[in-house]
Homo-oligomer: 237 residues x 2
C-alpha cells in the first residue's frame, strides 16, 4: 500500500472551533488574563452556532485554559494557575475546602507518624531536627516558617519508608503552597501560633525518636486538630 489514504476526518464542529481557539491561546493571540471575544461574536466570526462555540469553550474551561464568568466574559487563564498540582485541580473540581483537606491529612499523617515511629533511622531524625531548627530561626528573624513546617512533615513521610506515602504527601504540601498560601498566612501570623506549632512538632519528634507509635499518632492528632480548629472545623471525637 504505497500511498497513505488521507481521509476525511469527520470532525465535530465544536472540536474544530476548539482547535482554533486553543491555538490562538497558545500562540498568544489571546493574551493571558485578557478577555476574549464573546460567544456571540465568536459564533458569527466562525460562522457557526453559539452552541458549538459554547461546547468548545466549555472544553477549554474544564482543561483549565479559560475562565468564564457570567455577565463579564471569558478570560484566558493565567499560566501559573493553569499548571497546578494534581491536588489543586482536584480540590477545585471537587469543591473541596481547606478543612476537607485537613480531615484527609488527619488520617494520612497520624498513620504516617505511627509508621515513622517504628521505622525511622538516624538519617530521618536528622532531617526532622534540621526542620525544627530551621523553623526556629525563621521565626526569630520574623519570617513565617511555613517552608520549614512543610519540610518537617515531609521528613516524617520519608521516615515511613513508603514511597506512596511520600508521593501523596508531597502533592498535599505542593498544594498548600500554591493553592491556599493566603489562608495559611492567617494561621502563621497569629503570634502565639508559631510557638504552639513548634512545640507540637517537638512533641511529635520526641515520640518518633522514642519509637512510640501510639504517642506519635496522638501528638500528630493534636497538631492537626489545632490547625483544624483554627480554620473553624471540628473533629469527630
Amino acid at each position: 500500500m504505497p500511498h497513505e489514504l488521507k481521509p476525511i476526518k469527520p470532525k465535530r464542529i465544536s472540536d474544530q472551533v476548539f482547535d482554533q481557539l486553543r491555538e490562538l491561546i497558545f500562540r498568544g493571540e489571546f493574551k493571558a488574563g485578557e478577555k476574549i471575544l464573546t460567544e456571540r461574536e465568536l459564533a458569527e466570526a466562525f460562522g457557526v452556532s453559539r452552541t458549538s462555540v459554547r461546547d468548545a469553550i466549555n472544553k477549554l474551561v474544564v482543561m483549565g485554559l479559560l475562565d468564564q464568568k457570567q455577565g463579564q466574559g471569558t478570560f484566558v487563564r493565567l499560566p501559573e494557575s493553569s499548571e497546578k498540582s494534581v491536588l489543586a485541580t482536584m480540590v477545585e473540581s471537587q469543591d473541596a475546602s481547606i478543612t476537607d483537606l485537613l480531615e484527609v491529612r488527619m488520617g494520612l499523617e497520624c498513620n504516617a507518624a505511627a509508621l515513622a515511629a517504628s521505622r525511622a533511622v538516624e538519617k530521618d531524625f536528622q532531617f526532622m531536627e534540621k526542620s525544627i531548627e530551621e523553623m526556629q530561626k525563621e521565626v526569630k528573624s520574623g519570617r513565617l516558617g511555613n517552608e520549614a513546617d512543610a519540610s518537617f512533615h515531609m521528613a516524617i513521610a520519608y521516615a515511613t519508608n513508603n514511597p506512596l506515602q511520600v508521593f501523596i504527601m508531597k502533592n498535599f504540601y505542593d498544594f498548600l503552597f500554591t493553592g491556599i498560601k493566603v489562608n495559611l498566612e492567617g494561621l502563621y501570623k497569629v503570634p502565639g501560633n508559631i510557638v504552639t506549632i513548634l512545640n507540637q512538632h517537638q512533641a511529635i519528634y520526641q515520640a518518633i525518636r522514642e519509637h512510640n507509635p501510639e504517642a506519635a499518632h496522638g501528638a500528630m492528632k493534636l497538631h492537626i486538630n489545632f490547625v483544624y480548629h483554627f480554620f473553624g472545623g471540628r473533629v469527630g471525637d
Copy 2:
C-alpha cells in the same frame, strides 16, 4: 456533627447535574462500560433541558469518566481505557508495592470510618447495606464479590461528606481493580476469607450505624490489617 459551613453558591444547573452523574458513577450505580441513560431521558428525569445535561456530560467526557458516541449512546469509561489513574503511574514510577498501598489505606480509611460514624445519614446506611447484601449474593453464586467490596468502602467515603476523601479513595479502588486485580483474586479465592471479610464489613457497618467513631476506627483497622497480613506485611502497632 455539623463539621463545616460551606459557602452557599448558587450553582449552575449543569453543575448540579454533573455532581449527581459523577456520584452515580463513583458509587457504581452506573457500572463501568455500561451504557447510561440517553440525554433526552436524563433531561426529563432531572427536569432540566437537554442542553444542561449535555454540558454536564461534556464535562465528564473531558475528565475521562464518560465516553460518547454518536448514534450509540454514552458509556461509563473503563478505568483501563482511560489514561492511567494517578495512582497507577505513581505506583509504577515509585515502585510502590501492594503493602505500601495498604499502609496508606490504613490511615485514610480508618479516619474515614470514624468520620462516617459521626456524620452518616440514612442514605449512607442504605448504600452500605446494599453493598453488603450484594456481596453476600455474589459469594453465594460463586463469584468473587470484589466490586461489592469496593462499593462498601466507597459508601463509607461518601458518608464522610468530604469530596476530597471520595476522590482519593475512588482512585485507590480504580487502581485495585486495574493494576493488581490478579493479586487480589488470591485473597478472595481462599475460601474462608470472603466470610471473614463480610463479617468485618458488618462490624464496621454496625459501628458506623451506632455513631461510634472509635469502634468504627478499630473495626476498619482490623479489616485492613487482615488483608495486610495476607499479603505478608506487618503493621507497626
